[in-house]
């Protein structure tokens, strides 16, 4: 997570380590509470690309697959998998 520290350093000119801590904790707790392992989303993303790639020409550089919280305020674990996948075209099926 060193990239987080770099990001904040670029924005503010100095490292506010507590902001890094806060973001890391939110990430970790979200996954702890929902029992979805943090790296599982990446695995799912790769498999989605493989399936779509059979039928559609998708822009892999601009696609995004994310696990988001449905309710920011409470301890609920309700979440949604949100995918945004730009389609360049349809593949001709053989």
């Amino acid at each position: 997570m060193g990239s987080w520290a770099n990001f904040i350093q670029k924005l503010t000119g100095k490292t506010q380590t507590k902001d890094v801590a806060k973001e890391r904790l939110k990430f970790v707790l979200f996954h702890d509470r929902s029992e979805i392992p943090p790296a599982l989303v990446d695995v799912i993303k790769d498999e989605i690309i493989a399936v779509l790639d059979k039928y559609l020409d998708i822009d892999q550089t601009k696609m995004d697959v994310e696990l988001t919280r449905l309710d920011d305020d409470t301890r609920t674990t309700a979440s949604a998998l949100v995918a945004s996948i730009p389609i360049k075209g349809v593949k001709k099926l053989q």
Binding site: Q16, K18, A21, K22, R24, L25, K26, V28, D32
Partner: protein
């Protein structure tokens, strides 16, 4: 009928025992009859923090095994009227007491005392389960540090899942110098992350170590910030609306000491 409050944290070393000792002493100082129950069997510490280590004859395991009656194991604190301790066993482990035995014991204590404060061991295993089984309310203690907050979150989840629905947070060991420098999670950060109601805060204070050296909880003299913080926490438990104390930098050095001599006590 009294109420049973468990003081827990998940993470070890964040201040559960210190909080139990100070809150219990404070409630007794207000005239209530309070018993402190050390549920950390095998690693007892409540006795030494409160200065009653040389008065232990029987312990909680003796009581549940029938070796002695409950009243024989209770130690009456001579410094604070109305304060009692039920010590843990030191030579056994947490499997020595079952959940049923713990429930019976706590219910028996609730009939005699206004407050039953249970000092929970670290972890989430048998010791934790025993400590929470008969609790009406829970106080979760944490420090503003990544591992502790993560563990506190897990503990809060387990408490809610085990039908302890009244959960309040104490944030311990806050350091104003680090908060100002942006290197420590502040109160709002911690509350935002944990989504739980705040009971109170306690600043980092070297007086805590001095107090446990001599076995006298800081709340008794309340000369130091942590002592004042615990007094505020006790007042809130008793229903008073006390605003959060302002964090001050822990002073150091010669001139700071002189300044402290002439400054007025913070109320």
């Amino acid at each position: 009928m009294g109420e049973a409050i468990v003081i827990t944290s998940g993470k070890g070393g964040v201040g559960k025992t210190t909080a139990t000792a100070n809150i219990g002493t404070g409630l007794a100082m207000h005239g209530h009859k309070v018993v402190l129950v050390d549920a950390d069997i095998g690693l007892r510490n409540l006795d030494v923090v409160i200065g009653l280590e040389n008065r232990i004859v029987y312990d909680i395991v003796d009581v549940v095994e029938g070796t002695c009656k409950l009243k024989n194991a209770l130690i009456k604190d001579k410094k604070t009227e109305g304060l009692y301790l039920l010590p843990a066993a030191q030579t056994r482990d947490k499997t020595a007491v079952s959940s049923e035995q713990m429930t019976t014991l706590i219910n028996e204590l609730k009939e005699e005392f206004d407050f039953v404060l249970i000092d929970c061991p670290a972890g989430i295993e048998h010791g934790f389960k025993n400590a929470i089984v008969a609790a009406d309310k829970a106080i979760v203690v944490t420090v503003p540090e990544v591992s502790a907050v993560r563990d506190a979150d897990r503990i809060i989840g387990l408490l809610l899942a085990n039908e302890v629905s009244y959960v309040r947070l104490i944030i311990n060991r806050l350091r104003k110098d680090m908060i100002d420098a942006g290197n420590m999670l502040d109160i709002d950060d911690t509350l935002e992350i944990l989504s739980v109601d705040l009971l109170g805060i306690v600043p980092e204070d070297s007086d805590i170590i001095r107090s446990s050296n001599i076995g006298e909880p800081v709340i008794i003299k309340a000369e130091s910030p942590s002592g004042i913080a615990f007094r505020n926490i006790v007042a809130r438990i008793l229903g008073e609306n006390v605003p959060l104390m302002e964090l001050k930098k822990e002073p150091a050095g010669f001139f700071a000491s002189i300044k402290k001599l002439f400054s007025r006590k913070q109320v």
